[in-house]
């Protein structure tokens, strides 16, 4: 065999062996990776709905069963609606994406039955600066959205104020993250988009008239 042909043949054989190895590994882990993604989304939805608390997280296997027992998923043309219903109330959750400082921020937003208040928010994906904008993942920040009144003003469904003492749930305002003004503005935009663009569609799908 000439050296040139040997070189090609050799590279081909080595590639085939390693590709086979990786294909095997992929087949062995694929289901678990898909499951991980599902559980992560379910966790975000349950956290946004206030059904889980970060300090008291159940085992990995429990999350799927909690989710399937208590949350109903309705698919519609533009996405999915997640509903938690019981005799007293109903919580509606959905995914919303909006540009952040470095990349897209995707969050699960949950609103109450009357579409008047936010039940909670959970950031599903973002690439904000760790330690600055990344603090949107912090409980202090997210707790500001629990029971926050949604404003009637379509250009500012929530307002972002500078100081914590100026923030008020009844006045639809939250305190900005110090040193991350742009991220805080992005969150306002994200909520505007959720309430102005997505919520009316969801209300229509659900047959409710009170979607704004």
């Amino acid at each position: 065999m000439s050296p040139r042909v040997y070189g090609i043949f050799y590279t081909f054989v080595v590639s085939a062996i390693f590709v086979a190895l990786l294909a095997f590994l992929n087949a062995a882990t694929r289901n678990r990776i898909i499951e991980n993604e599902e559980i992560r989304l379910q966790t975000s939805i349950l956290l946004a709905m206030g059904m889980l608390h970060p300090d008291d997280m159940p085992q990995r296997d429990m999350i799927s069963s909690i989710f399937s027992e208590s949350v109903r998923t309705i698919e519609y043309s533009d996405g999915s609606i997640y509903l938690k219903e019981n005799d007293q109330d109903r919580v509606i959750a959905f995914l919303v994406s909006s540009p952040g400082l470095w990349g897209t921020i995707t969050a699960v937003v949950a609103v109450n039955e009357s579409y008047e208040r936010l039940v909670g928010i959970e950031f599903y994906e973002h690439s904000e600066t760790p330690g600055l904008g990344g603090r949107i993942d912090g409980l202090d920040f997210k707790n500001q959205f629990r029971g926050l009144l949604i404003s009637e003003d379509p250009s500012a469904r929530i307002s972002v104020v500078r100081f914590e003492e100026d923030a008020s749930k009844e006045r639809s305002s939250i305190a900005a993250i110090t040193g991350a003004t742009r991220t805080s503005e992005s969150i306002q935009e994200l909520i505007n988009r959720a309430i102005n663009n997505i919520l009316p569609e969801i209300a229509e799908v659900l047959g409710d008239n009170n979607g704004r």
Binding site: I8, Y10, T11, F18, L25, N26, R32, I33, P130, G131
Partner: protein, 203 residues
């Protein structure tokens, strides 16, 4: 058998001939993943695994591999091990996989691995090559951990996520951002290389 020479090589890779401090290789990931000790540790373990096994494999195949395709084969081997690490993290440590983001995949381009494959594994026996790969990986990991120690402590006030500094202490935001890795790394290189420099001047 491991000879004395290779024991010396093993130790040299950790400090005197450290890939990051002395050879200035693998800088990209050093700068990118060192603001959190947990991520850094996982990254370092991943790199030790990849450098060790790719050096071993390159060495095992060294007599069969034609010279003109050796680099293609090396990259193929390195990339395969990196994909294995990446897949493993995605399946079993999804949180860490997400926070390391693209940097696990970028281990492929880490010059330390290719450098060791070319400079050592290509011309040494498999056991020595494995040890050389592992020690280079550890040498890289040590520097990473030193940088991450300073950055996480000053940037977040914590180590491995445990808060150590009082809440009242001001976090140095710059320590979380990429530029600080340059400062910290430069300082470490300066401190580490001063003794070598004095020795060589003394000669």
């Amino acid at each position: 058998m491991i000879t004395m020479v290779d024991k010396k090589n093993f130790l040299q890779n950790l400090w005197k001939n450290n890939p990051v401090l002395v050879q200035i290789l693998g800088i990209c990931s050093v700068l990118a993943v060192t603001n959190d000790l947990t991520n850094t540790t996982i990254m370092a373990i991943g790199l030790v695994f990849v450098t060790g096994l790719s050096s071993l494999t390159v060495s095992l195949l060294r007599n069969k591999t034609p010279r003109n395709v050796r680099m293609i084969v090396q990259v193929l081997i390195i990339a395969s091990y990196v994909v294995m690490v990446d897949t493993f993290l995605k399946a079993y440590l999804p949180e860490i996989s997400r926070s390391l983001g693209p940097y696990v995949g970028l281990i492929i381009t880490n010059c330390i691995i290719m450098g060791r494959a070319e400079a050592y594994a290509q011309s040494h026996n498999p056991v020595d090559s494995l040890l050389d790969g592992i020690s280079s990986g550890i040498g890289y990991g040590l520097v990473l951990l030193m940088i991450a120690f300073v950055r996480e402590l000053l940037g977040f006030g914590s180590l491995f996520g445990f808060r150590l500094l009082p809440e009242s202490s001001t976090s140095w935001t710059i320590m979380i951002m990429p530029p600080s890795a340059f400062f910290v790394m430069a300082t470490i290189i300066w401190i580490a290389r001063t003794p070598f420099k004095k020795k060589s001047e003394g000669r």
